[in-house]
C-alpha cells in the first residue's frame, strides 16, 4: 500500500509529497521500519506503524504527520 492510500484509508502516517525531499531523517528514527525510501520515493508500511510520533518530530520540512501514542487516527 502506498502512503497516498494510507492518507485516505487508515490515516496513520501522512506524507506531504510537496514538502518531502526524501532526505531519510525519518527513516533513521522510525523504530519499526514503517518508513522506507525506494530510490527517491518515501514510502510507508502502515501495518508496521505503532504510532510514536518520532519520525514527524525530526522531519526538517514538516512533511510528515504521525500520530503519537494514544492519539486516535481518523478511522479509529
Amino acid at each position: 500500500m502506498s502512503e497516498r492510500d494510507v492518507e485516505k484509508n487508515i490515516d496513520l502516517i501522512c506524507i506531504d509529497d510537496s514538502k518531502c525531499i526524501v532526505c531519510g531523517a525519518c527513516v533513521a528514527v522510525c523504530p519499526t521500519e514503517a518508513l522506507i525510501i525506494e530510490g527517491l520515493t518515501l514510502k510507508s508500511v502502515p501495518e508496521r506503524c505503532r504510532p510514536c510520533g518520532q519520525a514527524a518530530l525530526v522531519c526538517p520540512t514538516g512533511a510528515l504527520r504521525c500520530p503519537q501514542k494514544g492519539e486516535k487516527s481518523k478511522n479509529g
Binding site: C23, A25, A28, V29, P60
Partner: protein, 413 residues
C-alpha cells in the same frame, strides 16, 4: 525469476564510505559490487560540504582535484549574545562540491575494478546458519528482484541505513541524537569569504548550530541543525528562514537541502559474521559537529584493510572482522566518545551559560588547532563552567540510552 550472482564483496550504498571501502578491496583483486539506490552518485546533495582538517584529508585524497571549491582560512563562532570569536588558520580545511567528490571516489573504485550499479536497492540480507552471505536486491527501473551472494557484505547506506539494523548491530536512532538540518545554497551574498561561521543560539538553532560556509564565487551554504526535541513545534526549515533573515536576508536562494545527521556514539561492535558497517550507517560521524565525510573515508579504508586480511585467512567471522572495530575504537572511535559526551553537555546549555562557556573557550589556547577541535580540552572547559550540568546531562544521556535499547528490543520481537 530470481537469479543468483556471486561477488567476493558486496557494498550497500555509493556514498564516500561505501565507495572508499570498495576502492580498497577491489584494488587487491577482490570482485566487488556497489549497489546504489539513487540514479546518480552524490545527487541530490545532502551536505554542507565542509571538510577538514586539511592535513587529515591529504592522507586520503589529492586535494588538487576539481571538487575543492574553496579553501578555509579560519573560523568564527558567534555566541547567543552576538559576540564574535574569530581564529585565523590558513588552509585549515576546504569546502567541496559534494557531488564531484562522491563521483571522484566512486570512479576510483570503478577504475580498480569494482562494479557500480545505480538504481539498484538492497532490500534485505541473505543469511545461512546465522551468517550474512549476501543481499537481496531490487532493480528499481524494472522491478526485477535478484540475489547477490558474497563472502562479505558492507553496510554503508548512510543516515537512513537499514542494513546494520537488519544485521542486528543497531536499533533506530534516538530523536535527540540526530541534527534535523535545513540549508540553502545562497548566491551573491555579502558574507565572509574564507572563514566558516558557526552561530549558537536557541532562537536560530535550539540544541544545535547555524552555519555559513562560503563556497567561493559569491556563494555559500547557509543552514541550521537543530535538536528536534527542543524545536517547540517548528521545523528545521522554519528555523532556517529565521536564520536567513539574520545572516543574509537579501541572498538569492539557489538550492534547498535538508536531512538528518547523526550525533550518536560509535556502535559497540561494527561487524557480525559476514557483515561490516561503515560510515554514517555505523554512527561514525563526529557526534559534536555531525560531520561525516572524512570519517566515512577513514572508516572505509580501515574496513577494506580488515576485509582483505580476512580473505587472506579465509576467515569471515565476526571475530575475524573485529580487527576493524578495534582499529576504529583505537583511533577515531576514542575521540568520538569524548565528542559525544561533550556534545551532550554543550548543546544542552541555555543561552546565558553558552555565552559564558564560549568566552571561557575563547581564552583557552590550543582548543582549536590545525588538527581540529580538542575534545578533552572542551570537556575540561565545560566541567569548569558547569560541573553540575555535566553530571546531570551525562546521567540523563546514559539512562536514555538504556531506555532506547529496551524499546528497540521490545519493538523488534
Amino acid at each position: 525469476m530470481m537469479t543468483d550472482e556471486r561477488f567476493d564483496v558486496v557494498v550497500i550504498g555509493g556514498g564516500p564510505g561505501g565507495t572508499r571501502t570498495a576502492s580498497g578491496v577491489s584494488r587487491l583483486g577482490l570482485s566487488t559490487l556497489i549497489l546504489e539506490k539513487r540514479e546518480r552518485i552524490g545527487y541530490p546533495v545532502r551536505c554542507a560540504e565542509a571538510i577538514g582538517p586539511a592535513e587529515g584529508i591529504a592522507r586520503y585524497i589529492d586535494v588538487k582535484e576539481p571538487f575543492v571549491t574553496s579553501v578555509v582560512n579560519g573560523l568564527t563562532i558567534v555566541s547567543p549574545d552576538g559576540k564574535r570569536y574569530q581564529k585565523e588558520m590558513k588552509g585549515i580545511g576546504y569546502i567541496v562540491d559534494r557531488e564531484l567528490l562522491d563521483l571522484h571516489i566512486a570512479e576510483a573504485a570503478c577504475s580498480n575494478g569494482a562494479v557500480l550499479r545505480t538504481g539498484h536497492q538492497a532490500t534485505g540480507l541473505i543469511r545461512e546458519d546465522g551468517k550474512v552471505v549476501g543481499v537481496n536486491v531490487l532493480e528499481l527501473s524494472t522491478r526485477r528482484k535478484y540475489r547477490v551472494q558474497s563472502k562479505i557484505t558492507v553496510g554503508s547506506d548512510g543516515v537512513e541505513s537499514l542494513s546494520p539494523r537488519w544485521a542486528g548491530l543497531k536499533g533506530p536512532t534516538r530523536v535527540d541524537e540526530i541534527f534535523s538540518c535545513a540549508q540553502y545554497l545562497v548566491e551573491c551574498v555579502d558574507l565572509p569569504d574564507k572563514y566558516v561561521e558557526f552561530h549558537l543560539s536557541s532562537t536560530f538553532a535550539p540544541g544545535g548550530y547555524g552555519w555559513v560556509f562560503p563556497k567561493g564565487n559569491g556563494s555559500a551554504n547557509i543552514g541550521v541543525g537543530i535538536n528536534p526535541e527542543l524545536a517547540s513545534g517548528l521545523t528545521a526549515r522554519d528555523y532556517l528562514e529565521k536564520f536567513m533573515d539574520r545572516v543574509c536576508p537579501e541572498g538569492d536562494r539557489k538550492r534547498f537541502v535538508c536531512g538528518g545527521t547523526l550525533l550518536s556514539d560509535s556502535l559497540p561492535s561494527l561487524a557480525v559474521d559476514g557483515f561490516i558497517a561503515v560510515g554514517e550507517a555505523a554512527n561514525q560521524n563526529n557526534p559534536f559537529t555531525g560531520g561525516g565525510i572524512l570519517n566515512a573515508i577513514m572508516a572505509g579504508d580501515m574496513a577494506a584493510t580488515t576485509i582483505c586480511r580476512c580473505f587472506e585467512k579465509g576467515d569471515f567471522s565476526s571475530s575475524g572482522l573485529s580487527t576493524y572495530t578495534k582499529e576504529w575504537k583505537r583511533n577515531e572511535g576514542r575521540m568520538n566518545k569524548r565528542f559525544y559526551l561533550a556534545g551532550k553537555v554543550f548543546y544542552s546549555l541555555d543561552d546565558r551559560t553558552m555565552d559564558k562557556v564560549l568566552s571561557a573557550l575563547n581564552t583557552r589556547e590550543g582548543l582549536i588547532t590545525r588538527k581540529g577541535l580538542g575534545s578533552a580540552k572542551l570537556i575540561g572547559v565545560l566541567l569548569r563552567s558547569s560541573p553540575s550540568l555535566l553530571g546531570k546531562t551525562l546521567m540523563k544521556a546514559l539512562s536514555a540510552r538504556k531506555r532506547s535499547r529496551k524499546t528497540f528490543s521490545g519493538l523488534n520481537t
